[in-house]
């Protein structure tokens, strides 16, 4: 709901908002530019009487003096019967330049407030400003909700490139955007008389004037009492009319001044309501404070970036979900399917089930597990299809499920069935699905069907489960599951480095480029830095489909797409279909294209900031860690002191990235390096090195350090055990650090 309140107005308004914001940003320069050419004496340095006398000396035909909110002083006069205006120096009365409001700024102003369409456009601009207010609020709430509470509003952001950019920029810009849009809404509401405007109380024109010989303007008491900074406008009397008066407008009020006596004949304050209104307008235009104007301008300049990244995020999210034809809304569905998926393969099964039930006449609502509602008014049954992330954790689309479930009252209970997805080779096979089952049983909700666990996307198990499900709901269900086709990119090997053959651990560093980089646009692409690779960061995963298989194998990425290369480390497994295939590739062999897609893994990243980072890995687990170190450059604001603990077999044979690591130690991308080799003279494992460095590890963690572990499951378990021992004196534990997001694992 919150997300829709954010993305719907955004999608609808993106283009118009870009126009509105860009024009607004340009206009924000105007007060600052005016200020730049003006002489602005400090408060108390000049009275209106002094300035008027100096100006009159230079411009005998002065008709009116005006001080713009920016501080520039204008004089209106007649020259050979033609009206003219100059900007003058208030300290000398001397001309600085002619005053000509820029036609370009005038046009942009018209564009900004009415899209050049007068009242219709003004209405549209007002509505857009209102949408901007809605998006500021919904965005802030969304961010707080995602981050896990208002306290975490400024904690590091996880997510893909555009998500991070969007949130990072929005956090800084939101205040400025709120000021701009709220004041804009206010101005529009006044314009269309939706709120009553407080009118400025005007001074009455005096009944009587002295009518005597005019006194020089510099000696008029009422003008000597007003500081130049308070002046808005001083209209001179007609020179030949002794009954005419000076009329004065300041920031506070208006009045009339006798030419002879110099006394205020009448005066009235505008009133606080009118003054507040003027302030709101001047806040919007930046005229009140030129620097605030520039800050607001800078904030709205971010709107085009926010619009583009926002639309990108929406599109990426949409593309990631399979197309569900006829998804019933949550409150009118009789059957609810919730999906917890990390890699979106589970979504394919959900779609098959959704389509099957819909064809059988059910009204089915399918959604991510995180979108669990407190109540489904018409639902009769709930099916949960859940994968598992890492070592038994909830997958990305189900991280909030159990918390939300705890808030659902038992009065809204539904008969349920759970289907788990995973890979039996891993010890935590379907752990999350089992956890959900346990919780639902404890709640005492009626279970329709025993929880079934599906190993490696087995279509047979799924079809069997569906048949059993059909029996319990008295509807024959024969489902055929066709694995979801993923959009893949064809890669070609650029180069390879081989290691570890001597120690029976053949391992290769493989670097790929997009296969399609020739063609007529190749030169243009190179010029623009398009590599043809999908976008990814070090730490993300690449899913590779070996020839003749639709089941991907995942490898951690050691590079980011902006480097124009896709780099992985592969250890050749005996009878490993995919690793043998990859390790047999030769550079630049056409016909040896590799089908690959990116699986974002945004949770496995060093946090933003400058805290130390301890990287722990073994074997090919070094790949993402190398990526993190490579990007840990000193020109980045968040350069971390990084410490790498890595284990291999033999320093002579499988020491991956040896030369790189040494050079990164030199240029401070890497602060500490400890290697452990399990063969040869000085036999050790990586956890042994950690224990030997216990004092340092503790010190780093006391500084707020973060631990990232990548490698095989057994190694990760050994490391976690060792870390628990190391942490004990600090009353810390791996579990505690994991909960705080400071101990991350990417294991296989």
């Amino acid at each position: 709901m919150l997300r829709r309140l954010h993305s719907l107005p955004g999608l609808f308004a993106a283009l118009f908002l870009i126009v509105l914001a860009t024009s607004g940003a340009v206009l924000s320069l105007s007060p600052a530019l005016e200020r730049a050419v003006a002489t602005v004496p400090p408060s108390g340095a000049a009275s209106v009487a002094e300035v008027a006398a100096r100006v009159l000396a230079q411009y005998p035909a002065t008709e009116q003096i005006e001080r713009l909110p920016s501080g520039a002083v204008l004089v209106y006069f007649s020259q050979d019967g033609n009206p003219a205006a100059d900007i003058v120096d208030p300290l000398t009365g001397i001309r600085i330049s002619a005053y000509e409001p820029s036609p370009i700024f005038a046009w942009i102003k018209d564009l900004h407030r009415s899209f050049l369409l007068d009242d219709i456009g003004r209405g549209a601009a007002g509505i857009l400003a209102l949408l901007m207010v809605v998006m500021c609020f919904s965005g802030t709430f969304l961010l707080a909700y995602r981050a896990g509470g208002w306290r975490h509003l400024f904690s590091p952001i996880r997510g893909t490139g555009s998500q991070r950019l969007h949130t990072q920029i929005a956090r800084y810009a939101v205040l400025g955007l709120l000021v701009s849009s709220l004041t804009g809404v206010w101005m529009s509401a006044i314009r269309f008389e939706l709120v009553t405007e407080a009118e400025e109380v005007e001074a009455l024109f005096p009944e009587e004037v002295s009518g005597g010989t005019p006194t020089p303007v510099g000696t008029l008491n009422a003008l000597r009492a007003v500081d130049l900074q308070d002046l808005h406008q001083l209209v001179f009397p007609f020179p030949d009319d002794p009954n005419d008066v000076y009329s004065l407008r300041t920031h506070q009020g208006s009045g009339y001044i006798d030419q002879e006596t110099g006394e205020l004949l009448s005066y009235s304050d505008y009133g606080s309501a009118a003054s507040l209104q003027t302030f709101i307008v001047e806040l919007h235009t930046g005229e009140a404070f030129w620097y605030v104007g520039l800050i607001l301008g800078l904030a709205v300049l971010m709107v085009p970036v926010l619009s583009v990244t926002g639309v990108l995020i929406w599109w990426q999210r949409r593309r990631a979900l399979p197309r569900l034809v006829g998804n019933t809304s949550a409150q009118s569905a009789d059957t609810v399917i919730l999906v917890g998926s990390e890699t979106n393969t589970t979504w394919g099964f959900a779609k098959t089930l959704h389509d099957g039930l819909t064809a059988a006449g059910y009204h089915v609502h399918t959604a991510p597990m995180n979108r669990l509602e407190k109540q489904y008014r018409k639902a009769r049954r709930l099916f949960i299809l859940a994968a598992t992330y890492g070592d038994g954790a909830a997958p990305a689309s189900a991280t909030q499920f159990l918390d939300k479930l705890a808030k659902v009252p038992d009065s809204a209970q539904l008969p349920w069935a759970v289907l788990g997805f995973g890979d039996r080779q891993f010890p935590s096979f379907c752990a999350f699905a089992n956890e959900v089952t346990t919780v639902l049983r404890q709640r005492g909700w009626p279970q329709l069907l025993e929880t079934e666990l599906i190993d490696r996307q087995s279509a047979q198990t799924f079809e069997r489960w569906a048949a059993a499900l059909g029996n319990t709901i008295n509807t024959p269900l024969t489902l055929r599951h066709v694995p979801l086709r993923r959009r893949t990119t064809a890669l070609l090997l650029t180069e390879r480095e081989d290691f570890g053959v001597e120690v029976l651990a053949p391992t290769s560093i493989l670097r790929f480029h997009a296969a399609k980089r020739g063609g007529p646009l190749a030169a243009l692409r190179r010029l623009l830095g398009w590599s043809g690779l999908p976008s990814f960061e070090a730490g993300d995963l690449v899913g590779i489909l070996p020839p003749g298989s639709d089941i991907p194998r995942f490898y951690s990425l050691a590079s980011a797409s902006r480097e124009g290369v896709l780099e992985i480390c592969v250890r050749r497994q005996e009878r490993g279909v995919c690793s043998s295939f990859l390790c047999s590739l030769q550079p630049e062999q056409s016909g040896q294209e590799v089908r690959a897609f990116i699986q974002y893994n945004p949770l496995f990243r060093p946090a933003r900031g400058k805290q130390p980072v301890i990287l722990i890995g073994a074997g090919t687990g070094i790949a993402p860690l190398v990526g993190f170190i490579r990007h840990n450059r000193s020109h980045k604001r968040s350069q971390h002191p990084m410490y790498l603990y890595w284990g291999g077999r033999s320093p002579q044979s499988d020491y991956l990235y040896e030369r790189d690591l040494q050079s990164w130690l030199q240029d401070d991308r890497l602060t500490g390096l400890q290697t452990a080799f399990s063969r040869g003279g000085d036999r050790a494992y990586v956890q042994d090195k950690l224990k030997a460095d216990a004092v340092q590890v503790r010190a780093l963690l006391e500084q707020g350090g973060q631990v990232l572990v990548c490698g095989g499951r057994n190694m990760a378990a050994d490391v976690a055990k060792a870390m628990d021992e190391i942490l004990a004196p600090l009353s810390l534990s791996v579990a505690g650090l994991k909960a705080a997001g400071r101990y991350l694992e990417d294991t296989y």
Partner: protein, 156 residues
């Protein structure tokens, strides 16, 4: 004496319009081709001394900006009762505005003047942008304005 008579005549014009002898007067205000938004104009009658008498027409949609029609605002006090039913749209650069109003006979050839004050957003205001006599002799003769007004023609 003349002034008293004139004032009497004006009073009659205001209080007893149905009984007073009135004449239809055509007033055409042509604007220069200046750069900017539509101009706000106040067209009103003053006596020979420049004292405000009555409003004939206000061009401009938003009453909150009428205070920028400086001399008119001074004389009329900007009171809505002075211009109720006499307002119209602002006049764009280069356009002209023609109005027909009933003016009491007592005001004609008695030293009264038709005056135009003008204002444009973000630009300067003009007090007495143009001024033409309410005389049969001056009827139909264009007077040159000094601000946004190019010419003002009063035809009796």
């Amino acid at each position: 004496m003349k002034k008293i008579l004139a004032t009497l005549g004006l009073l009659t014009a205001i209080t007893l319009p149905a009984l007073a002898e009135a004449r239809e007067v055509t007033i055409t205000t042509e604007l220069n081709a200046y750069r900017g938004d539509g101009a706000y104009l106040a067209i009103y009658v003053t006596d020979a001394a420049g004292k405000y008498q009555r409003t004939l027409h206000i061009a401009g949609g938003k009453s909150k900006y009428y205070k920028h029609l400086l001399d008119w605002a001074r004389g009329s006090g900007g009171k809505a009762s002075e211009y109720d039913g006499m307002t119209g749209a602002s006049v764009s650069s280069g356009d002209s505005l023609t109005i027909k109003v009933d003016v009491d006979d007592a005001l004609i050839d008695a030293g009264y003047l038709v005056r135009v004050d003008s204002a444009v957003e973000d630009q300067r205001e003009h007090r007495i942008d143009a001024e033409a006599p309410l005389t049969t002799a001056g009827s139909g003769q264009a007077v040159v304005g000094k601000g946004y007004v190019k010419s003002l023609t009063v035809t009796l």
